[in-house]
C-alpha cells in the first residue's frame, strides 16, 4: 500500500537524512527541530542536539515553541548560554550540521532573513539575523529549508553567507575550509551545490512536481543533476514517529493555525458560559 504523507512530513524526513549518527547538530524551532527529533529516533540515536539558547543534548518529546523552550524535554546534558554556544562550541569547530530557515536564497546559497524589498521601494522586515550568520558561516555543513521564501538573482540583504560569489570566495572571506551549505530543501524540490563552482544544482523533485514549475520560480537558468531524481518519500515508520511527536509540524503552519484558532474560541466560549 502506498504511504500517504504531507508536504511538511516529506521535508522533515528529507532534512533528517542530512544528520549522521554521533554528529553535533544545531537546530531551531519548527521543521528543523522535527528533523532532529526524527533523526534521533531513527538512524542517528547518538546525535547531540544543540540550540543557541545554551541547551546541549536535549531529547525533546514534542516540538518546542522556540529555541529556549525547555518545556519540550525533561532536562538536558549541558546547560550553558548563548555566548558559550557561539564560542566554545561553534568557533572551536564542534558543530557538524546547522539547520537554517530561508527568506530569500541566491544561486550560491547565500541567505536573506532580514529584509525583503517591496515593489514601492519600502522594506518588509523578516525576523532578523538571529544566530543564522554565524551558524551558516562556521558550521561544517548547513542545511537550508525554505517554505514560502523565494529565489533571487541578487538578495535584498545578505544575512548569512553561503558560498558568497562561488568558487573559494567563502573561504577567502574567513570561513572554515570545507564548510558551507550542502543542501536546500524547498516545498517542491531539493538542491545541492557544485563541489567546485559552488553553484546550486537541482538534485531531486518532490513527488508530483515538474521541472518546469520548479524552474519557473528561479530567476536564473538552474543547473540540473543527471539523473534528476524524485525525492525519496517518508517511510511509514518515519511518519508514525513524526505524527506522535510533532503533529503540529505534520499538518503544516496554516492548518495548525486553523486548529489552534478553533481551540481558542472553544476555550473562550466555555469560560464565558460559566460566568
Amino acid at each position: 500500500m502506498a504511504v500517504k504523507f504531507t508536504l511538511d512530513e516529506l521535508i522533515v524526513c528529507r532534512a533528517a537524512r542530512e544528520i549522521r549518527d554521533r554528529e553535533i547538530v544545531v537546530i531551531g524551532q519548527g521543521l528543523p527541530m522535527a528533523a532532529g527529533i526524527l533523526a534521533r529516533k531513527t538512524h542517528a540515536p547518538n546525535a547531540l542536539i544543540v540550540t543557541e539558547a545554551g541547551i546541549v543534548g536535549m531529547d525533546p518529546f514534542k516540538i518546542p515553541l522556540h529555541i529556549a523552550d525547555t518545556s519540550c524535554c525533561q532536562g538536558y546534558a549541558y546547560g550553558c548560554d548563548m555566548f558559550d554556544v557561539f564560542t566554545s562550541i561553534l568557533n572551536l569547530g564542534y558543530v557538524d550540521v546547522a539547520f537554517l530557515g530561508v527568506g530569500q536564497v541566491d544561486r550560491h546559497g547565500n541567505v536573506n532573513s532580514s529584509y525583503v524589498a517591496a515593489a514601492d521601494g519600502s522594506r518588509r522586515r523578516l525576523t532578523g539575523a538571529g544566530g543564522a550568520p554565524e551558524f551558516g558561516g562556521y558550521a561544517k555543513r548547513t542545511v537550508l529549508t525554505m517554505r514560502g521564501g523565494e529565489f533571487k538573482e541578487t538578495l535584498d540583504y545578505l544575512t548569512t553567507p553561503g558560498y558568497l560569489d562561488g568558487g573559494d570566495s567563502r573561504y577567502r572571506a574567513g570561513m572554515p575550509a570545507g564548510s558551507g551549505p550542502t543542501v536546500l530543501i524547498t516545498g517542491k524540490a531539493v538542491f545541492r551545490f557544485d563541489p567546485v563552482t559552488k553553484e546550486m544544482v537541482l538534485a531531486s523533485l518532490h513527488p508530483g512536481r515538474s521541472f518546469e514549475e520548479v524552474a519557473s520560480e528561479i530567476p536564473w537558468e538552474i543547473r540540473v543533476a543527471r539523473p534528476l531524481e524524485t525525492t525519496a518519500p517518508p517511510t511509514q515508520k518515519e511518519i508514525d514517529i513524526i505524527r506522535r511527536l510533532a503533529p503540529d509540524i505534520s499538518m503544516g503552519r496554516s492548518l495548525y493555525a486553523e486548529v489552534l484558532a478553533a481551540r481558542v474560541l472553544s476555550i473562550l466560549a466555555k469560560s464565558q458560559r460559566k460566568t
Partner: protein, 351 residues
C-alpha cells in the same frame, strides 16, 4: 560602577520603574524568549517612559508592545518574531516605515558580545570574522561606526572583527527566586541572561518568589543577578506570563494566539493593550482578569509538575577551629593554651 548594598530592596514594580528609570535611558531585557520579564515590561509601558533605547536579543511580544506604547525610539536588535502574516503591519514594521524607531541590525552573538564586553569592562571583544562578508556588518544604522571594527591580532597580525562594548543604564530581569537583597537565581535555558544582566549599570529584578538568604546561600551556582548589581526586587508570581518559566508554568499558547491575532492592525492591538496592559493596575489585577476571561482551570493547566534538579551537596565536615571543649585539633592546643603560647613567644603587644 554604583554598588547597591541595601539589605532589603523589595518594592512594587511601579515604585521600581518610577525610582530607577528615566526618559532617554538605554536598557536591556535579560531574559530572551523564555522567562520574559513581561510584568516589568507592562509596568514600564504604564509608567509612560519615552525615548528609551533597547538592546534586544530576541523578542516575542516585548518589542512590539514597547513600540506600540511609544516607549522606545532606538533598537539594537538581533531577532524579532514576526506574526500576523504578510498582510499584517505589526508595530516594528510600522514604526520603521514611519521613522519613529531607528533600528540597528545585529546577530544574536555579536549583540551579546557587545554586552559581554560591557559586562567585563572591556572596550571591545573579538567576534567571528566571517561575519564581515554580510550586510549585518556592511550596512549600519544609528550606531554608525560605534559597533563593528577591524582590529589587528597583536600576536599574528591577522585582521579580527571586533564589537564595541556597551553598558545599558538598566536591565529588566525575571527569575524564579531572589532574597530581599536581590540575589536573583535563575535556571532553565540561560541564553543571554548572565551577560545581559551583568552589562547593565543596575538590574530591576522581579521574582516568582522571595526566599530567605539561607536558600540562596545553599545554591550559589544559581545566582545570576548578584545583589550588588540589583537596585530593586519585585515579588511577582506569574511575572513572565505568557512565556514559560522552568519549575513554575508552561507557555500560554491560547493567550498568545489572541495577542498574535491582534497584531494585524493598530486598533486591534490597541484594544488588546487597553485590556491587558493599561486596563489593569499590576500583575495581580492582570491575573484576576485572566481568570475572569479564561477561567481558573485554564491558568491551572499551565502549572509545572516538579522535575527537581539533583541537589548539589555543598557539605564538608564543618569542623570549627575550636571544638566544643575549646580545643583545636589543627593547633593541638586549647583557646587558653593559645593565649599563654602567644605570651610565651612575645607575640603580644601592649599599648
Amino acid at each position: 560602577m554604583e554598588a547597591f548594598m541595601e539589605s532589603d530592596k523589595r518594592m512594587t514594580a511601579k515604585e521600581a520603574i518610577e525610582r530607577f528609570v528615566r526618559d532617554g535611558d538605554s536598557f536591556v531585557i535579560a531574559n530572551c524568549l523564555t522567562g520574559m520579564p513581561l510584568a516589568l515590561v507592562h509596568e514600564l509601558i504604564r509608567a509612560g517612559r519615552r525615548r528609551l533605547l533597547l538592546f534586544q536579543q530576541g523578542g516575542i511580544e516585548e518589542v512590539d508592545l514597547l513600540l506600540a506604547a511609544g516607549a522606545i525610539d532606538r533598537l539594537v536588535l538581533a531577532y524579532n518574531l514576526r506574526m500576523g502574516g504578510r498582510g499584517a503591519s505589526p508595530p516594528l514594521e510600522r514604526a520603521m516605515r514611519e521613522g519613529t524607531v531607528q533600528v540597528e541590525e545585529m546577530t544574536n552573538f555579536t549583540l551579546l558580545a557587545m554586552l559581554k564586553a560591557g559586562a567585563m569592562g572591556y572596550p571591545f571583544l573579538p567576534v567571528l570574522s566571517g561575519l564581515g562578508a554580510t550586510d549585518v556588518v556592511r550596512e549600519s544604522g544609528f550606531l554608525g561606526r560605534e559597533r563593528f571594527a577591524w582590529a589587528e591580532d597583536p600576536f599574528t597580525g591577522q585582521k579580527v572583527l571586533v564589537v564595541k562594548g556597551y553598558q545599558p543604564d538598566f536591565a529588566l530581569m525575571h527569575v524564579q527566586r531572589s532574597d530581599p537583597l536581590g540575589n536573583g537565581q535563575l535556571w532553565g535555558a540561560m541564553i543571554n541572561s548572565k551577560w545581559a544582566a551583568l552589562s547593565a549599570k543596575k538590574i530591576i529584578l522581579s521574582a516568582e518568589k522571595i526566599v530567605g538568604t539561607e536558600v540562596i546561600r545553599s545554591a550559589p551556582h544559581l545566582t545570576v543577578a548578584p545583589a550588588h548589581k540589583v537596585c530593586a526586587v519585585v515579588e511577582c508570581p506569574w511575572g513572565a506570563h505568557p512565556s514559560e518559566l522552568a519549575g513554575h508554568y508552561d507557555h500560554d499558547l491560547v493567550f498568545r494566539a489572541l495577542y498574535f491575532a491582534s497584531l494585524g492592525r493598530p486598533e486591534t492591538l490597541r484594544a488588546w493593550m487597553d485590556e491587558w496592559v493599561y486596563g489593569v493596575r499590576d500583575r495581580r489585577e492582570y491575573l484576576d482578569h485572566y481568570v475572569d476571561v479564561f477561567g481558573s482551570e485554564t491558568l491551572e493547566r499551565l502549572r509545572s509538575k516538579p522535575f527537581p534538579s539533583a541537589p548539589a551537596d555543598y557539605g564538608y565536615s564543618f569542623r570549627p577551629m575550636w571544638d566544643d571543649s575549646g580545643r583545636s585539633e589543627l593547633l593541638g592546643m586549647s583557646l587558653a593554651d593559645f593565649q599563654s603560647f602567644l605570651e610565651q613567644r612575645s607575640a603580644l603587644i601592649q599599648d
